[in-house]
């Protein structure tokens, strides 16, 4: 398996995430965002770039090869830009900006033991994904779509399920979803078999999900490192045991992590919640946009948008109450 296949979904989001947050929050983004949040933001940016390339290919009627060149050309440019900025800012780095946080209770050995348990569980999940047989394909045609894109070297020219020309066509809302294009572009770049490639993406989505939950654990338990690790271990157990229904996070992450709904439930929803709890609304908007590019919901309004709207209302109500209390006192 080529190294590029692992580097693209792991390294590229990190670089894109830094650039994305820098654009949204300026140079000070490093003080506000953790490494997890940077990766997750980068994952959303990568989805956005894939969407741009995909729409370009659909609207201009271009080939999949053109789409792959556009996507990876743009991604490479942005990654270099991000690297250059990182190197430039790295020299000027203000050491005082790094705030050391005193950790609460729990001996070092306990924390290490808990980390070990989490790592073990994660390793077994990765092994299960890579070796546990075929992914769950009911109600989904991602594999066929990617194979058809690569075979036709065109986007949605033939019905992926039969290989014959469309008679009635394809719904527009579906036509703009970009995950099959991201996968086929990656397949072109790495020259890897589609099934192996999707297995890698399933692992990346699982890891991304852990990072999203880790980011939430930081928000909910803050300096309590033991609490954060225990929460992640419980998340891991819930993933193992949530293997009973397709809509459960565990089922999606373990059996069909490359689907849009898996990315949404595993990565985007926790990421949005994390951003909303910290009132980092621009980060939530990035997640909303990423969801509209990968999941078919009503006119692009997805779960992340609803979460953000509810959270904004909660924050506004709380602020209003606080204001009234201040006035009364």
């Amino acid at each position: 398996m080529s190294i590029a296949l692992w580097l693209i979904p792991v390294l590229v989001p990190c670089l894109l995430g830094m650039l994305g947050f820098r654009c949204l929050y300026g140079r000070e983004y490093r003080k506000c965002f953790s490494a997890e949040e940077i990766f997750l933001n980068g994952f959303c940016v990568l989805i956005g770039l894939a969407e741009a390339a995909h729409l370009g290919a659909v609207v201009l009627n271009r080939s999949v090869t053109w789409m792959a060149a556009a996507l990876w050309g743009l991604t490479a440019f942005l990654c270099f830009l991000s690297l250059a900025l990182m190197i430039r800012e790295g020299r000027k780095k203000d050491k005082k900006s790094r705030i050391s946080v005193k950790q609460e209770d729990a001996s070092k050995s306990t924390v290490q033991l808990l980390w070990g348990c989490l790592a073990l569980s994660l390793v077994f999940q990765v092994i299960m994904i890579m070796t546990g047989g075929e992914s769950y394909r009911e109600g989904d045609m991602t594999i066929e779509t990617v194979q058809t894109f690569l075979s036709d070297n065109a986007v949605y020219q033939t019905n992926p399920l039969t290989g014959r020309a469309y008679e009635g066509g394809i719904p527009l809302r579906l036509e703009i979803l970009c995950l099959p294009s991201l996968y086929s572009s990656t397949a072109i770049l790495t020259g890897e078999d589609v099934n192996a490639l999707l297995a890698v993406f399933r692992v990346v989505v699982l890891l991304g999900s852990y990072l999203a939950f880790s980011s939430l654990a930081k928000v909910l338990f803050q300096n309590d490192k033991t609490g954060r690790i225990v929460m992640l271990i419980l998340v891991s157990l819930l993933i193992w045991c949530g293997d009973y229904m397709i809509s459960m996070d565990g089922f999606q992450l373990l059996h069909c992590g490359y689907r849009g709904t898996a990315v949404r439930n595993g990565i985007l929803v926790p990421f949005t919640l994390s951003m909303c709890l910290q009132k980092k609304w621009k980060g939530a908007v990035v997640a909303i946009l990423a969801e509209t590019c990968i999941v078919w919901t009503l006119y692009g309004l997805g779960a992340c948008l609803l979460i953000t709207v509810v959270m904004v209302l909660f924050h506004l109500t709380a602020a209003h109450r606080e204001g009234r209390r201040c006035r009364n006192s």
Partner: protein, 303 residues
């Protein structure tokens, strides 16, 4: 709307049938409410906000009217269980259990061993009882075996096509059978073919039996194609085929050829199909090459 309401009512039952995460979530929310009332340190501002959000979305998902509204919001493409994507079930269960455990440990049992261990064991037991582990692995392994069989059959088909091409080359001096393959086979083969190779066309796709896939295109299948599918699926268990359907075999085979099928795979022991295909090929002056593999008979039809 009535249909959505009905789905929302039955959906909750379905959602809590196999696993009880939703029930566990409600338990955690109640526990948090109790901790909040007692003024526990575990109730920080962020956790309060998350608790409020989860209560709101869980209540909306459980009550049929609000559930139906959420289902309308997420489009008809998704079933009831998908509205639970809005409820952070995994997060709240994990955070709630962690918060409660650490609160108990730090306040009452610090330095003790038995009681914290018992509480942890009880929590884990509850988690395992409410969930379900490894249920889908068997299905995935079966799928892997099915895919393996389909791969081997596709290899045979390709070998058969190459052999036929060489035969033509020897006979005519040029490659006459480079046309793409259009396959008609039982569902157990057909469902994997396009995932293995997009070079091969199918008479009908997975959406013939997986209805959810019909939402991905406006294409529909004619009643005749549905009849062909049903007939092919009956071939596996020949004793159950009604006499009427069996007599329709030659008609269906001819219809399939009209649809452009040039490769047919049937379960082994279908002598009458061989005879029917021979008759059709003589009538239409086609050439048929036959090969057996993996308990199936492969017929490659050449012009």
């Amino acid at each position: 709307m009535q249909e959505l309401l009905r789905n929302a009512v039955s959906g909750w039952q379905r959602y809590t049938d196999d696993g009880k995460y939703a029930v566990l979530l409600l338990g955690i929310l109640l526990l948090y409410w109790y901790l909040k009332r007692t003024g526990s340190d575990a109730c920080t501002a962020n956790r309060n906000l998350l608790w409020k959000y989860t209560v709101l979305t869980a209540v909306m998902a459980i009550f049929p009217v609000t559930g139906a509204i959420l289902m309308k919001y997420q489009t008809r493409f998704y079933d009831y269980e998908w509205i639970w994507s809005l409820v952070p079930v995994t997060l709240v269960i994990a955070a709630g259990m962690t918060g409660f455990y650490l609160e108990c440990y730090r306040k009452y049992w610090k330095g003790k061993l038995v009681k914290p261990a018992l509480l942890a064991a009880a929590g884990l037991a509850l988690l395992f009882l409410c969930g379900n582990m490894g249920k889908s692995l068997v299905q995935r392994e079966m799928n892997a075996e099915g895919k393996e069989t389909a791969s081997r059959i596709l290899e045979e088909i390709n070998a058969l096509s190459v052999a036929a091409d060489h035969g033509d080359e020897n006979r005519d001096g040029d490659l006459g059978n480079t046309e793409s393959i259009c396959l008609w086979a039982p569902r157990e083969i057909m469902q994997y073919v396009r995932g293995i190779s997009a070079e091969i066309q199918l008479l009908y796709g997975r959406n013939m039996w997986d209805q959810a896939l019909n939402a991905y295109s406006y294409d529909t299948y004619s009643p005749e194609l549905t009849e062909l599918y049903e007939w092919m699926e009956q071939l596996d268990d020949r004793e159950t085929i009604p006499e009427e359907a069996e007599s329709m075999g030659p008609v269906y085979l001819e219809a399939a050829l009209e649809y452009g099928v040039n490769c047919i795979v049937v379960p082994q022991g279908s002598q009458d199909i061989t005879d029917s295909l021979k008759r059709i090929s003589e009538k239409k002056s086609l050439q048929i090459v036959k090969q057996s593999a993996e308990g199936f008979e492969i017929y490659r039809i050449l012009k």
